[in-house]
């Protein structure tokens, strides 16, 4: 347990930005702020691992066939972000991309699958390698697979 980021001020600034980003995304159905650092962005809703409350975060993703890959980097913090801990406890999540929202299953990539995806990330989003250098934990890569066909 402890602070997830180097300083409380940074953590608060990140929280405020996340709140603002989520608010804009939800109100514009992703027409505004649907990209982060050039990557398409989704809203991931996990179930709070203790209270059961839903928590929604905006995350950039990489397409992987019909699935989407999100990265639990927390900018290289020593600890997994809260949403990763939540989906480890309960992999049934909700994913919204633009106006389209629905249930999905979250699965942490392991072994060869992770290695191959990490190599792809190094090419397409090379700043994550810098985040990995800041932390001793292995940054988890999560595949989100929709569990119902979309409209």
């Amino acid at each position: 347990m402890g602070e997830a980021l180097p300083s409380r001020r940074q953590a608060q600034a990140l929280k405020a930005w996340t709140r603002f980003h989520r608010w804009v995304y939800q109100r514009t159905s992703g027409k505004v702020l649907s990209r982060m650092r050039g990557k398409p962005t989704l809203l991931l809703t996990t179930t709070g691992r203790r209270s059961g409350r839903p928590h929604t975060v905006p995350l950039p993703y990489l397409a992987d066939g019909d699935a989407m890959i999100v990265i639990g980097s927390a900018s290289g913090a020593e600890r997994h972000p809260a949403w990763v801990l939540n989906l480890i406890a309960n992999p049934r999540v909700t994913v919204q991309y633009l106006a389209d929202s629905g249930p999905a299953n979250a699965e942490i990539l392991a072994d060869g699958e992770r290695k191959a995806m990490w190599e792809r990330i190094n090419v397409e989003a090379p700043w994550y390698a810098g985040y990995q250098q800041r932390t001793s934990r292995e940054i988890p890569l999560i595949r989100l697979t929709r569990t119902q066909p979309t409209d």
Partner: protein
């Protein structure tokens, strides 16, 4: 089939600040499962476990308006410990509170958002509870509350009088749950409520049906479609039945 008390949920306008206060006060670890929720539990705790009643601090927009009907009592082991703890809590931002307690051996304080709590003088009954001696619920009729809560949970009813009722976990460990007769009536939604859980493999819906038969009523706090069920006990105290774990 049974339920047990696993945590209390405290509302706060600033869940991080109130969470930090209580983590320091109890010597517990602080975590956040997501924005607006700060989770507290003992360091190295295997949640859930009857040795502790955990605390979730939940952000709400509305401020506290009246004296809380649910509060915690903190345990101390000596007069010096009590004095030290009171001083330390005041350094952390607690303030003295007057709830009409008069001249009593315990000290009433309020956390940074005004939530009242007590720092008890040493009492042998609370020597092995952990930092929280008891979660105390104001009520009009302790005997009726004891009847409901004794059947609602697998906790053991230790004592019941016209003035108070005392329960503790079935394992005989951790804090007590107490119902204390008070003259004041409930006027607003409680700012702190009890969270109960079925055991793994038990049926949450069946437990809710059972509680309704015991006299619990459904309440709508605007919670919408959520994985927990909001109920009220026979005196209207809100509580939640969470998913099994």
């Amino acid at each position: 089939m049974a339920l047990r008390l696993v945590q209390i949920a405290m509302n706060a306008q600033d869940d991080s600040a109130v969470g930090r206060f209580w983590a320091e006060a109890l010597g517990w670890g602080v975590d956040s499962e997501g924005p607006g929720v700060t989770n507290l539990e003992p360091v190295g705790f295997a949640y859930p476990d009857p040795t502790a009643i955990c605390i979730d601090v939940i952000a709400v927009p509305e401020p506290k308006t009246v004296k809380n009907r649910v509060h915690v009592d903190l345990a101390t082991t000596s007069a010096a410990h009590q004095a030290d703890l009171i001083a330390r809590l005041q350094d952390l931002g607690a303030t003295p509170a007057d709830v009409g307690q008069g001249d009593v051996p315990w000290t009433v304080l309020a956390d940074p958002e005004g939530n009242e709590f007590c720092v008890l003088e040493p009492r042998s009954i609370y020597r092995d509870t952990g930092p929280i001696a008891a979660v105390v619920v104001d009520c009009a009729n302790p005997r009726a509350m004891a009847r409901f809560w004794d059947q609602a949970m697998d906790w053991t009813l230790h004592e019941v009088t016209d003035d108070y009722a005392v329960l503790r976990s079935a394992k005989g460990v951790g804090p007590y749950l107490e119902f204390l007769r008070t003259p004041d009536v409930k006027t607003v939604k409680n700012r702190t409520h009890l969270d109960l859980r079925p055991y793994p493999g038990d049926d949450q819906t069946a437990e809710v049906v059972r509680l309704r038969a015991l006299g619990a009523t459904d309440i709508d706090l605007g919670q919408g479609d959520v994985p927990w069920t909001c109920l009220a006990d026979p005196e209207g105290n809100e509580f939640d039945v969470l998913t099994p774990r």
